[in-house]
Symmetry: D2
Subunit: 291 residues, 4 copies
């Protein structure tokens, strides 16, 4: 399939590589030219601008945030309708509000639009082990299924409207952040009773909580080891804020998310914004008077 | 081993049966006489009072709450020291404050005291699949290890002081309640965006959250099915309150636990106190205007 | 002074009338033409568009929200610099972020810009009893002081940068909403102990809390009387959200504001979005199982 | 009237002095003998024990907390019914649960019991300016009205059952602590936008919040001046906890009180437990990265 990848951060490069490996014809575009070059050595072709990327049969976008999506998709790629059948697969996590706007704009431009945010960090993407949450028109999803199969190990169909995949992804990230905060408070509690957090961590992650979320973050938090950065704390705050906005728009109060938002802000005010988002756990420890 | 079991609710009966099956000589006592009878048909002997139960080599107690422990252990069993070497294994979840008091009282009475609260509902106990959190003097623990092996599938040594096992158990229950609340909020969020909570549940429990805590409670909450009762909601509130008290005594604020406490009270005010504690999830749904 | 008023809702009309009464030459503009007409009968002149309004020596704007300010000020009034000396007095409450943007845009357009949000509902405005929070360049403030004196009974100078007045106004509204929530919780508590909330209200508002905030909202909440609407609940949510955003931008977690946000969303999900913002008090009552 | 005062801390001494000044015959008792001596020089007589104090026509108790009330009233004074008509006026703030227990015990002992907690710090007590919240049997209240008039400037009748006065007092203290937290968050917000908290304080306390609660605590918090101690922070936590317990017992979630509890614990964990309770405001400042 003739496919373009727009947005070549760590995640986007992983996607492009998976598509190349699966034998697809891949063109790539990125605002800054560097990341495209190594991919060109691996067989990709550079698109000169987002509009040219949309001349492919399908476009996978992995842009950093709402602002980048507005600039690249709304202001550039779709400012002139591509004029042929193309499916836009948006893989990044954006706000539900922008996703709804994109639904309309794509409809007007005659472009099929599906949202396909992924669960997993860059290393998971590189290994082709991502879980993909897909929402959008069923026929469009079927057309790009070979691409989704190249990118991830499993596609989860969550709804017919693209913004529903955004909501689902935000809900999953909220669950992760909640797991971290619960661990952080539990560890602060036992540490203040002269127990080693690692013991509680071992009990939990081998029994009731023997799942990737806890097996990944439990040890990081017990060790207070927040580098290297898998997902930056400021981006964690952004996703929690997007979940809260999605709740506000739909009429759902999210008290845990409110606590998380306060704590991410506290963490940033204490200089931890560029650490891994699990560093939010330092807040519970600090508030308990623990180093 | 000559062992007594005090407190014959569903959990206590399970423990007594496991001990009988493992070939131990078991005497039993319960405030109301009914539960002892079926155990007597299975080979147990009835102790006439708590003090007589303490004539065994080891006593396992599974009493409902602080009040019952005060009445049975402080006011009755230990009002006169047993006068021989006995190890008291307290299997129920009590407050950290009472556990500290019990440490002193047992020391004065010359009775070895270890705390061994368990993770698992009655069906897990009956299957001998409990995880046991043990804290106390190492020699005392070694003496009763055969009993612990009969009761559970694994013993986790968490500390030297019995109250540390109470803290650990309260931390684990707090983690469970936090998982429920996170699920409840996430489900309310997606439902208000016209998604079925079961889809999110399936994604979560097969990926990042593929652990017993979520596999047990996710479906109950997605189904809004809060009966039969595994653990009563009012007892859930009690454990969250004990976690908060343990935090207050040690200097650890627990904002998630505070939210949980408010929500359990809300649930009880709406008539759900006798349902399974996962019914706390109705609060997030109700606040979002969902039935 | 030759002054224009843009935005003729209940508050804006009050301001225009106060300026007319003080003898100023007033031109008015509003998106929908109706509100201008009665003011014209009282001596005002209609400006044909926002740009013409900016031909006055000073412009007072009282637009509903960020969106209206963007549309009227950024897209229309200042799209072409007015070309003479004019002071823009922004009296409405907007986001701190937009206020910072406006600081730059006005500088580039050569227009003096001060923020002057007011404390008080329309009836207070009509009586000329507003308190005005002013921030901006000192000379510009001195130039328009006669206008401020016509509008309010007192001007509070809070800072040199206009956005600081926005922050101060948002802080004051947050204080008001916090007072309401505290009253709501206290009343729910005493009502569940079979006491009449009016008694507590009387004690509080005659002793420690004998201040307008409590004397206005205490009786409304004790009576559960949320109409007529002084300030719409959805606007209350907007202001709390703006306070939270201002906190996030500057690094200040605001846990009370987070609770308020959750409760305003809860209130809206239960159909109270168009009531007075004090209807947020219904949430505490409902959660306590009170009608 | 022949009246006894039990509990001679700063508040109790103030009450005894006011009663002496009003011409009553006053006997006094305190666990440690020191405080009674200066009162004896002013005309008071020392009671040898709590039971002798209960030989007066009325007894005013101002004991520090539940534990002291249990020890002095339940275990000593009422262990033998006094055998004549006496009215017990309990002026201290205790838990609602203990107050309910006391209702029963007094009934059984044939002693009239009214609760009369006061609003005001020791300096207010010394000036006879206290507001008294009274609940109990109407005839008993009438009998001791001369004493209440000597102690305070105004008596507020809140209910027929003594524990209702406890609830009301706890609600009032919760309101005070909420006002402090709201001030603390608002000040942190404006300070992070380079504004002086004193300006916001001046605006608020001269307009919407021109009431004693804000005029007392606003300047202390703006100055970050938490000594001398009017009411110790650990006692503030105690009262918030009692409010939460009263809410739990009656079915009222109190989310603001939960935040307060977390913040008081945070303050104590950072060494501020012995400061004035307004030092809880340091938490909001610290979390915002402010000194």
């Amino acid at each position: 399939m003739d496919v373009a990848v727009i947005g070549l951060g760590a995640m986007g490069q992983g996607l492009a590589r998976s598509l190349l490996k699966a034998g697809h014809k891949v063109r790539v575009w990125n605002r800054s030219p560097g990341p495209a070059e190594s991919l060109m050595r691996e067989g990709a072709r550079r698109a000169k601008d987002p509009a040219e990327a949309f001349q492919a049969d399908a476009v996978v976008t992995m842009l950093a945030n709402d602002q980048a999506v507005r600039a690249v998709i709304l202001d550039e790629a779709l400012s002139h309708p591509p004029g042929h059948h193309v499916v836009h697969v948006m893989a990044s996590t954006i706000s539900v509000g922008l996703c709804r706007t994109l639904e309309e704009v794509h409809r007007d431009a005659g472009v099929d639009f599906i949202a396909a945010p992924v669960l997993g960090r860059p290393d998971v993407a590189a290994a082709g082990e991502l879980n993909i949450l897909v929402a959008g028109d069923e026929k469009a999803v079927r057309r790009v299924q070979p691409l989704l199969d190249a990118i991830g190990k499993k596609t989860w169909r969550v709804g017919d409207q693209p913004h529903q995949a955004s909501v689902t992804k935000l809900a999953a990230n909220f669950m992760l952040a909640s797991a971290m905060e619960a661990l952080a408070e539990a560890f602060a509690l036992v540490r203040r009773h002269d127990l080693d957090a690692h013991i509680l961590n071992e009990v939990l992650t081998n029994t009731l909580f023997a799942a990737p979320a806890y097996k990944v973050y439990g040890p990081l938090i017990a060790d207070q080891r927040f580098e290297p950065v898998g997902f930056k704390l400021t981006l964690g705050l952004k996703d929690v804020r997007l979940a809260l906005e999605a709740g506000e728009a739909a009429g759902a109060p999210l008290p845990f998310a409110s606590i998380l938002r306060d704590n991410f802000i506290d963490a940033i005010a204490h200089g931890d914004g560029d650490k891994d988002w699990s560093a939010v756990a330092k807040v519970a420890a600090r508030r308990a008077g623990l180093a």
